[in-house]
Symmetry: C2
Subunit: 195 residues, 2 copies
């Protein structure tokens, strides 16, 4: 029986913190194989914003990240808080905190999985239009963030050159450009069609 879910026979908490939870499941596959333990990483959902101004420039941020211990070029976003009633509220809060910007339109790009094999949570991408700076960034002391507006051809150059390496954010940028109709697919015959 293909593609049927595994059955969880037992489950135990390995790590339980506000930032990260790890669960160990004892599973049986549809073909009867026992998989024990299978580790699953639990966390809040994430929100990410691809913000474009009227000149189709994108708002990028640069900051140190302790996962890969490097300075990363990224798009704004972060964790949903338990108090956020929905992903758009969280995305508006994170954008304001990190950059001081609000915006007219938050166009949802769907719910993605950051890693279906290991993670339980979803990430919610938004294409954001009509940005207005209304405050100074109010990030916590751990986050020193620089903002920059980048033209799309320069963004594409940086992506191709490996200067933008955050894969989840690349996916959101891709979806945003697709949603806004700003990418065309070349067919094998050399024609183009909107993707």
């Amino acid at each position: 029986m293909k593609h049927a879910p595994w059955k969880i026979e037992a489950s135990s908490s390995i790590l339980d913190t506000p930032w990260l939870k790890v669960r160990a499941d004892a599973c049986t596959t549809p073909s009867g194989e026992r998989i024990d333990p299978y580790y699953v990483v639990e966390s809040e959902d994430w929100v990410h914003t691809a913000v474009f101004d009227e000149q189709r420039r994108i708002l990028l941020i640069r900051l140190y990240r302790h996962g890969n211990q490097a300075v990363n070029l990224e798009i704004p976003g972060g964790n949903m808080d338990p108090g956020d009633p929905n992903p758009e509220t969280a995305a508006r809060r994170e954008l304001l905190e990190e950059t001081g910007y609000t915006a007219d339109q938050f166009i949802p790009l769907g719910d993605l999985t950051p890693n279906s094999a290991r993670n339980t949570n979803s990430l919610h991408g938004f294409a954001v239009l009509g940005p207005r700076k209304v405050a100074e960034p109010a990030t916590d002391a751990a986050e020193e963030i620089s903002c920059e507006w980048v033209e799309l051809p320069e963004l594409m150059r940086r992506i191709a050159a490996g200067e933008f390496r955050q894969a989840l954010h690349l996916a959101v940028i891709f979806l945003a450009l697709q949603k806004l109709g700003w990418l065309d697919l070349d067919t094998a015959q050399g024609r183009t069609s909107t993707v």
Copy 2:
């Protein structure tokens, strides 16, 4: 001092398994703030393949994943093994195991971070051309995998419709289409330029 790395004052292992490791760091930021604990997820690097045939169809797989407990549409790939000398070898091994395909060209798309805030590892994407089926899939019993070849316009439709939700794989597909010159960026003026 912006963008300087945090200093790790102490580090301890919270979970140490072959599949997943979690580390707790006690850190000091450049501004002197203490962050303790900061949890970091360690795992092997990952490899992902965007495989295209001569008709520019892409090879997709469909399988159950226990992270999000759902059947997912994905591209082939997996973990690097300690015995893999480099990412291309791992990508060739995973593609063969999961689909029975080998290929002429594995074009590297650079090293991405799956989540710079939390994960230490990299993912290595490849655009793969000239595929040939040389075996039956040799996946382990836990993996029941279906393969399908999908035209690019249909891929784009599925992505827009939320039927392809694996964000890391979307990033690799985006990079592959960019690398192969199969995507055009519409400028604000309505002109197109290769991205």
